[in-house]
């Protein structure tokens, strides 16, 4: 339902964004756009959402389970009232202009009616046609009618027409016969629709490099050579082998597995010059998990450079080598030779001493490169969005998510190979950019929540209805559902008990509402699947029947019973009865709960006036919100002022000057220079901060905080820096190249040393930008003085992604690269009036002497010391290296754990200028979820304090990690613990800490839980 909130005439921008592609980037973009007041059409060409991330087992560097992380995001996506998921839909064309596009879509026919399908799986069970399953990377078959995995969204089956017997030969139709709900519609037709939309975000994602193109590795010919994604499915407990690692040839466990990196990346021969960014870490992760699985599987990774350039990656990599004893061999493989007797594989590689070694492996995993999704490439051509040299959607300089076509943005894999945190950040960034254009139309197309009357049940005795679900055969195949319903009927206060095929189906929900009305039920217990899937639906059903949604209780007799006790039906039935009994005991004591709300202060505080801070402030203003920008020094611009050029030809120094001008002229932004934030109190949406400058201190109210306090270059103490004029840092070298090219022209021998102050035991992180900086500055020197001899001493060259091409260029222009290892670092000594650098080259295994006119040190990026002070003032966490710590390194890189706080830029970790800018907008996008609302509803399942029982002892305050409960003076003058509803997450720790029982968690009161156990 739409509702226009403005009365202006026409020529208004459409308040919606269309996101094309539902991988993690598209999902993040969709969620952010929808949370900030716009409608989203999420278009996905496959039958269900999720992209590549849904296929992963674990993710680096935390080794969290991929589907566990995606699950909540996808659940939010599926139930969001303002997101329309258009799965199994192609994009045909785009017309119009930014703010008023028309996008033409083809909704492909699944041959299944989404309204009727309840995903019972009977059709797939009976379907006779097997097909190699692309979701499981062809390791196992699926049926012609399918769903990729049981939790897929949308939860609708699809007929693969290319393989379906009926569609090919006109016979079969078994699925139609067995479907109880008449959901199969063979003559369903494709539907062409045109949507009005304000902006487009391309998030079409990636495809894997076809490993068959590297014939020498034998993929597709030799059974035990598999791709990284196939191995990923193998590792997954939900995959074809239930997490059991086995060779495809004979099902035996492999004793030795080898990974070959860079298959299809960094390969000019194949035309894929670029680096795929993630495979080094992915292989490390896979090897680590393999070792955790079983120490009798040896793992070896054959690589060129170990690219661990993200936050936490170097530690992850070091850990894999030390704790898990993954073996790393710095040698790429020319070919894999099969041993036909036992299908093992022989690999030859060269050692540092130049000898060749043969090794036999039971399995070889190819870390294949990432290529652009062909349908995205096709779409780009159709709608006129240019691609870059590598075939991905081309970004604008310093604006990663903008394409050359106004109103069309890009994020995630479609922009270039990248890992999950970068995809998520870009998704948020694209959301901010796309909606900035549409700011005036915020709220025009969002659904207005209906208010439903509620019956007051406080005077009634509990009257419980129990609905036991068959879930097709998922439950009923093991549990005697009728017996459970009979048992439930005998429990006291149970007025009505029944069993049904699918409690979640639309008609069953209607019957439930009817039963509520007929029997005047005031509590409902459903015994079915996990609350994660359908609890919101059931609660909504109760609401629509006039009952408070919290009078609902769900007994999980599927995941907790039928699915795990399949071999013991009698015991499972008994357990189901016990679970239902517990739920009924609790249901008797459930009380209605109501959500509160409070008003949001719709303005932002941005701390730090560098590239990230300025971009964030401007982005807020573009969205129509006021921002206060606080900068500690007298000048805005930060590090960017002296960053003259990037490796792809942009000039952050010029860009930031323009940006400063825009910010200073922007009426919605208040700039405070030489100022600091001295305190912040309040909660998300309602903060009050003190800003102190030389004129004194004043307080401001704001709804959100963005931390953008930046970083700085490490001033080395090693390699004679500070003691010899010819030893400089990269930044100083850049200044020299810009300001005094004549001097630069005279340089004959320049030696650069990488990783100065990074990747050391006390600073075990990579500063991300230095390899690219070295390459960039080498190329710059070469343009000034083509005869200069440049040597770069490195440990790994980490020019990831498209930056790899700059590395290639540098080598082509004669820049020399010498590799050294941590335990044998180069030495810099005085030599007449110049310097001598000697390095033990690890490949040549000899010492190389490099007389040098100039030694350039690639010094680390450190967090600012002021970050620590700010962290204490705002009570925000820092990681072990002193950078600010985000809520979750993979899925929430721009949020702090404390609601209402966001971060971006170097304060979060080393990054490039365009990444800082993109992150800043991403942080704004995240903040908009708060700022775009006038009110925030507070969760109702939070802690309550009984005023009489509370002794104000403060134990709750000590225990709470969300600062949600504090002892304060209340109206009567007494001290009492008070809950800040906005901060309370309903975890219940305060209940444990409270000695008198004053703190009790609504919906999870002690009595409610105790009765479940005691009854």
């Amino acid at each position: 339902m739409t509702q226009k909130t403005r009365l202006t005439a026409q020529a208004e921008k459409t308040g919606s964004v269309t996101v094309i592609g539902s991988g993690i980037a598209g999902i993040q973009a969709a969620l952010d756009v929808a949370s900030s007041g716009f409608r989203v059409h999420l278009v996905e060409e496959k039958a269900n959402v999720g992209g590549v991330m849904a296929q992963l087992d674990k993710t680096f560097p935390t080794n969290d389970c991929s589907s566990c992380m995606m699950g909540p995001k996808i659940a939010k996506l599926a139930t969001h009232p303002d997101i329309e998921i258009l799965a199994y839909t192609d994009v045909l064309g785009l017309n119009g202009e930014p703010g008023r596009f028309q996008v033409t879509l083809k909704k492909k026919a699944r041959a299944v009616d989404p309204q009727k399908c309840v995903a019972c799986n009977i059709c797939a069970e009976k379907c006779p046609q097997k097909v190699p399953d692309p979701f499981n990377m062809h390791l196992q078959p699926r049926k012609a009618i399918y769903i990729p995995y049981p939790q897929a969204v949308p939860l609708v089956y699809t007929i693969d027409k290319e393989h379906c017997i009926y569609f090919k030969k006109g016979k079969c139709r078994v699925c139609e016969k067995v479907c109880n709900n008449k959901a199969i519609l063979f003559d369903q037709e494709d539907e062409i629709i045109t949507l009005e939309t304000g902006a487009l975000i391309l998030a079409g994602g990636l495809e894997l490099f076809d490993a068959r193109r590297k014939q020498e590795y034998g993929y597709g010919r030799w059974p035990n050579v598999i791709t990284s994604l196939q191995y990923e499915r193998m590792l997954s407990a939900a995959g074809p082998f239930r997490g059991r690692i086995q060779r495809l040839s004979d099902g035996q466990r492999p004793g030795r597995i080898a990974w070959i990196q860079c298959v299809g990346s960094r390969d000019s021969h194949l035309g894929n010059d670029y680096c795929s960014s993630v495979c080094c870490m992915s292989a490390t992760k896979q090897a680590m998990i393999t070792r955790e699985h079983s120490l009798d599987i040896d793992t070896t990774i054959f690589f060129i450079d170990m690219r661990a350039h993200g936050k936490g990656f170097d530690r992850f990599y070091e850990r894999s080598a030390s704790d898990n004893t993954v073996r790393y061999v710095r040698s790429l493989i020319s070919r894999v030779v099969p041993n036909p007797e036992d299908d093992s594989l022989c690999i030859t590689y060269c050692e540092p001493d130049r000898s060749l070694r043969d090794e036999t492996y039971d399995m070889v995993v190819l870390s294949v490169g990432l290529c652009p999704n062909p349908s995205t490439v096709q779409l780009a051509k159709v709608i006129g969005v240019p691609l870059n040299e590598q075939g991905f959607i081309a970004s604008q300089p310093l604006d990663i998510v903008a394409t050359a076509k106004p109103g069309v943005y890009v994020c995630g894999g479609a922009q270039g190979p990248k890992d999950i945190p970068d995809s998520v950040q870009q998704g948020s960034s694209a959301a901010a950019q796309a909606t900035a254009v549409l700011a005036d139309s915020r709220g025009s197309l969002v659904a207005v929540p209906r208010s439903l009357p509620q019956r007051d049940v406080s005077a009634e005795a509990p009257s419980i209805g129990v609905f036991v679900c068959h879930c097709g055969v998922n439950i009923a195949g093991v549990v005697d559902v009728e017996a459970v319903a009979d048992f439930a009927r005998k429990l006291s206060n149970v007025t009505y008990a029944t069993h049904c095929m699918f409690a979640c189906s639309t008609d069953q929900l209607r019957e439930m509402q009817q039963a509520i009305s007929d029997h005047q039920l005031n509590r409902v217990v459903v015994a079915s699947c996990t609350p994660r899937t359908h609890e919101p639906i059931f609660r909504k059903t109760l609401q629509e029947a006039g009952l408070n949604p919290y009078l609902f209780e769900l007994a999980n007799i599927r995941e907790h019973d039928s699915w795990v006790h399949q071999a013991e039906p009698e015991a499972a039935t008994q357990k189901a009865k016990e679970l239902v009994r517990m739920s009924v005991s609790r249901a008797r004591l459930l009380e209605p709960l109501y959500e509160g709300s409070y008003e949001v202060v719709q303005s932002a505080l941005v701390i730090g006036g560098g590239l990230a801070g300025l971009s964030a402030a401007l982005s807020f203003a573009q969205q129509g919100f006021e921002a206060t920008l606080v900068e500690r020094t007298a000048e805005l611009g930060g590090n960017a002022r002296t960053l003259a050029y990037t490796e792809d030809g942009s000039s952050p120094a010029r860009y930031v000057q323009d940006l400063i001008e825009e910010v200073e002229n922007q009426p919605l932004i208040t700039v405070c220079k030489e100022a600091q934030v001295t305190s912040t109190v309040g909660s998300c949406g309602d903060f009050t901060s003190q800003i102190a400058d030389k004129n004194g201190s004043r307080s401001i109210s704001h709804g959100v905080v963005v931390v953008a306090t930046g970083g700085q270059e490490y001033k080395p103490t090693e390699y004679l820096y500070g003691r010899h004029p010819r030893v400089v840092t990269q930044k100083e070298f850049e200044d020299l190249l810009q300001a005094a090219p004549e001097k630069a022209k005279q340089l004959q021998h320049v030696t650069m040393i990488q990783c100065v102050g990074s990747r050391e035991p006390e600073f075990l992180y990579c500063s991300r930008v230095c390899c690219t900086a070295a390459v960039k500055n080498s190329l710059q020197l070469k343009t000034i003085n083509p005869d200069a001899q440049i040597s770069v001493l490195y440990r790994d060259i980490r020019t990831f992604g498209f930056k790899e091409t700059a590395y290639l260029q540098a080598r082509r222009q004669g820049v020399r690269f010498y590799r050294f290892e941590l335990d044998r670092k180069p030495e810099v000594t005085r030599h007449a009036d110049t310097l001598l650098v000697s390095v033990f080259d690890a490949q040549l295994q000899t010492t190389v002497q490099l007389p040098s006119d100039l030694v350039v040190l690639s010094a680390a990026i450190r967090p600012r010391p002021e970050s620590r002070e700010l962290a204490e003032t705002l009570r925000l966490p820092l990681d072990e290296d002193g950078f600010f710590m985000e809520a979750h390194p993979k899925l929430r890189p721009l949020d702090f754990a404390a609601p209402g706080f966001f971060l971006c830029g170097l304060a979060q970790g080393p990054k490039f200028a365009d990444e800082s800018i993109s992150q800043a907008r991403g942080a704004v996008s995240r903040a908009l979820a708060v700022l775009s609302r006038k009110k925030i509803a507070t969760d109702s399942m939070i802690n309550r304090v009984d005023a009489q029982l509370c002794r104000a002892c403060g134990e709750c305050e000590k225990a709470c990690c969300f600062e949600a409960i504090k002892v304060k003076q209340v109206d009567s003058g007494r001290q009492q613990a008070v809950v800040t509803a906005a901060q309370c997450t309903g975890c219940g720790v305060c209940n444990v800490a409270c000695p008198t029982g004053a703190a009790s968690l609504a919906h999870y009161k002690d009595e409610q839980i105790n009765r479940m156990i005691e009854d």
Binding site: L949, R951, A952, G954, E955, Q975, P995, T996
Partner: protein, 377 residues
Amino acid sequence: MDPLKHLTQKQIDYCMECGLCTGSCPVSRELSNFSPRQMIKQVLLDLESDLMNGREIWACLSCAACSERCPVEIDFPEFISARRQQARDAGNVPQESHHGVLQTIAGLQTREVNQQRTYWAREAGVFADTGDVFYFVGCLPFFDVTFRYLNLSPLDTARSVLTLLNKMGVEPVISDHERCCGHDALWCGDHSTFRRLAELNLEVIRSSGAKTVVFSCPEGYVTFKKYYPQHVGELPFEVLHMTEFLSRELPNAGVSFQSSSNRTVTYHDPCRLGRLAGVYDPPRQLLESLPDTVLVEMERNRQYALCCGTSAWMECSSCSKAIQVERIEEAGQTGAQTLITACPKCQIHLSCARSAMDSDIEIIDLYAYLAMRLTTE
């Protein structure tokens, strides 16, 4: 004999509605709808449903301040205790503090537990399995774990007692098999648990051969002395409070005490030792026998002492806190450096409240204080 009937006829009928009880009651001052006078009247007129179903029945501290003043000597604590048994049977239970852990422990002790609770004694002194004198330690080992978070060590009381006894040449029996005396169960209307605990404790003492049982805890003392005989018959041994034992034996035992900078003290009479058991002088004699020590009485002392605010590990609340704060302020007004308590619960409750207050006064247990003042050799 049905205690309820007995009470109803004798105790309640005598009430003349004078209001002295409610006027003396510390709880009534904080909770406006708590009134001992009204509760008596309700029962008199058979209007009991409010009493049986409400929270007020649990709010009483059984401190006996009301009974102390009542002109017709109505034993209000007895009245409440009997009513609570009825209420519990009807399903009305109190809000147990500390998640009910102390009640759970006492409940488990009614079963065949094989306790290991004398480890502290092995390190603190000498004791035996059989002998004439039985030191009934009570719940101190459990309090020591549960109230660690308040920076208290309740077992210091027991250690101090053992040290003092040893110094007097006494090697008491200390048993692993002691149960909770049952005080809390009795006062919370759980008479079946109480009876079982009493039976088990009698068995433990009998098999030790002890003729005298000494208590450092006032609740244990008064429960054995007054209430065990009511429920399980005459006791075959002498029941003494440690202050009685010490003030009787200490002067002749050749134990000497030394001066201390910590010399000005005030003393808090526990309800169970004072009003309920009538022991006021022995603790004072002990304190005054210390060299160079000044005892300054609080305004409300002896039978007028203010209760420490919480009873039987239930219904701890803002009301309890307010009473505790008042008592500590009263102690502060004496000018004493130290407040001496003679009951582990008084010490715990007052210390808990003091930690949230701006008060300098130290709260020390009587026995720990005595042990502290022993001459060092």
